[in-house]
Symmetry: C2
Subunit: 249 residues, 2 copies
């Protein structure tokens, strides 16, 4: 099966709070529908928070490690994400993709060390029954912290592992990992390959999250491609557009 | 911890489609809030479908064993239940109860034999972190069937077992199990106690689901009380109003 991440900055307008990028969403839904018509019917979709989740998480001081304990904060952050999820579902339904929501807050939790447990048998059963499960960045109950942020990227790596994904796609606003000359790096097999352009191993992530993303994808058992919306049909057709990260497992 | 079922016929007007019984919901929320003020802060709430879930399930031919495969049916039934859940959450929030939704479709599945797996660690973590998890009758992915109905009663028995509940409360429209003279039977320790009034062991359930309910509650490790809304404060205060079923485990 394929785990497909639709970046929050792809499906929303990042600079305008709670604004969907309707055209981008429609394009993504059409690509998934076309792929299904072509026989690719084992796709799990995960979308990020974009301009829905992030402003609320910031307002309430919630991150993947700092929790929110006030139920009003939980309602605001989770509510914004389920609203975005409804828009994503509607676009998929409009394209005749049988999308079904899977809200991580209802399924997952973290222990005191922050380790995530995200059961995936419900996702696998939905997929086997012909549905397209759609997960999203969300809050999750976190022992000792209230509820912390669960990012779309973390969901992708968790599901790719637990469901033994054949391929992972990360549909982003950039065409891949760029080198010093802004050319797409086609393949990454170790972090050393891109350390000079992604800023090494320091905790400060100067690349807008790309360094962290690459590190997480390197830890996967499945090849993971990072590409933009234009390349989504090619990815779903079996190509490896953009940058493909081959994990070292 | 306590698993509290709010019957679908308690929180909705059963005869009018998709109509909340606002006064009843407010009364239930006030009772839970008052109990929390009195130190009872380990309550998991489960509500039924009432006039929200049932008409849609009927329209799409969905039951606990017969599945719906059309995503429009899934969206209609699940959507109606999440709408009712939003009303329940709002009533609880208005009473300052920190309620958080847990949608079973996002968490649970059935195997080919119909056996339910409903993970509960996320529910336990929410509870430990001070929230009141609120589950509801829903659809769940069912291997070989698409999606089948998961009743509130089935959620109650599953959670009572997996979370090792101390007590179970079933808040219904009747004050308990009634004997032949319409008096409440205070205690049931075996089905034989009520076979004469509940209609024996035949498959036909002439008592509006009460026989099936009693059988399920007899299988629990925790005592389970069946009572009406008037008795909810007493139950939450530690009493055993209505009929209390003591399982034979």
């Amino acid at each position: 099966m394929i785990v497909l991440k639709l970046g929050g900055s792809v499906v929303t307008e990042k600079d305008r709070e709670e604004t969907v990028d309707g055209a981008a969403l429609e394009e993504a839904a059409a690509a998934i529908a076309a792929a299904r018509d072509g026989g690719v019917d084992d796709v799990v979709v995960v979308h990020g928070g974009g301009s829905f989740g992030h402003p609320h998480a910031e307002e309430w001081g919630a991150s993947t490690t700092e929790g929110v304990r006030d139920v009003d904060g939980v309602t605001a952050i989770h509510g914004a994400m389920t609203t975005l999820n409804k828009f994503v579902l509607r676009a998929l339904h409009d394209a005749d993709v049988p999308a079904v929501p899977v809200h991580p807050l209802s399924a997952a939790h973290r222990d005191r060390d922050g380790a995530l447990t995200l059961p995936s048998e419900q996702v696998a059963t939905l997929l086997d029954e012909g549905f397209v499960p759609v997960l999203h960045g969300d809050l999750v109950a976190h022992a000792g912290e209230g509820a912390t942020v669960l990012s779309g990227d973390e969901i992708v790596t968790s599901l790719a592992d637990s469901m033994d994904a054949a391929r992972v796609g990360v549909c982003s606003t950039v065409p891949g990992v760029l080198d010093a000359d802004d050319a797409v790096v086609p393949e990454i097999r170790s972090f050393d390959d891109v350390e000079n352009v992604l800023g090494g191993s320091s905790a400060t992530d100067v690349s807008g999250g790309m360094a962290g993303k690459v590190r997480e994808l390197l830890a996967l058992g499945a090849p993971a491609s990072i590409f933009d919306l234009d390349a989504l049909p090619a990815f779903l057709a079996g190509d490896e557009p953009g940058t493909t990260v081959h994990g070292d497992r």
